[in-house]
Symmetry: C2
């Protein structure tokens, strides 16, 4: 209750001050009128003073209101480098160029995971001989001479994670 009343006062205090100044001014004017303006011809000075006063008053009041209204928000877009974890995507074209068969690619993938030929054979339910054959064939197709180089090339060509 008290807070909202206080806020209301703050919000409209410029209007209150303006009204108060107006009241003071009326007294001043009446006093000036009574004091000096019996004599004819000084009416121009009187009006000039009033004009000056109200001009200044208008400026002051305007500035008081504008001070809180003219807040221009400028949104500046700032590029912030964010390390984005690239989800692995197979380079399909690179993979097709190698002309690997499905089995050979399977073997290659398991190789890249560090499996030995024996482990690959167990994983695919094949004999060691078969794995060796596939491995040998895929080495020829990939133009490498060892599994280590095959793995390095496969990762470089983005056909294995």
């Amino acid at each position: 209750m008290m807070g909202s009343l206080k806020n209301t006062f703050i919000r409209y205090r410029y209007i209150a001050v303006y009204g108060l100044l107006m009241a003071v001014l009326v007294f001043v004017l009446k006093w000036l009128q009574w004091r000096f303006l019996i004599a004819e011809g000084s009416i121009e000075i009187y009006i000039g003073l009033i004009a000056l006063f109200f001009t200044v008053l208008g400026i002051v009041v305007s500035r008081q209101f504008d001070r809180r209204k003219v807040v221009r928000t400028v949104v500046i877009e700032k590029e912030i480098p964010v390390p984005v974890q690239t989800p692995f995507i197979v380079d399909a074209s690179a993979l097709e160029n190698l002309n690997l068969t499905a089995r050979e690619y399977e073997v290659l993938q398991l190789m890249a995971k560090g499996c030995s030929n024996t482990e690959i054979a167990e994983a695919l339910f094949l004999s060691l001989s078969t794995i060796k054959t596939h491995a040998s064939n895929l080495f020829v197709k990939m133009d490498v001479t060892s599994r280590t180089k095959a793995i390095e090339k496969a990762k470089r060509l983005k056909i294995t994670p």
Copy 2:
């Protein structure tokens, strides 16, 4: 020359406009005074009009100036995530945990690049025996049993690209 003169005009045009309005006003006031204010008692209305006019004038002039001067800019930074290809950074802590010697780490790095033991020996100007020793030792430290597993683990722990 022409440009600076034009700029000067633009800079002070509000003052010029203000002066012009003042001049016009004098004519209007004189006319009003001659037209209506023969009768006594309407002087308060006359002064009231002048007060109102100059208040409005002050406000208008003030706003014109304030429009360009009192603009408080609030800068709001808007984050724009920019995908940046993560430059490889070694996980120093993971590397330290392995307690690899400098030579062993060198061998590991070359392994990860697909080099055979012979190639590593040639690259480091060492004998094949030495490379085998280093390899065997680093396998124990990395708790793996083959170079392919060592490479896979090294990449997974981010100690090689």
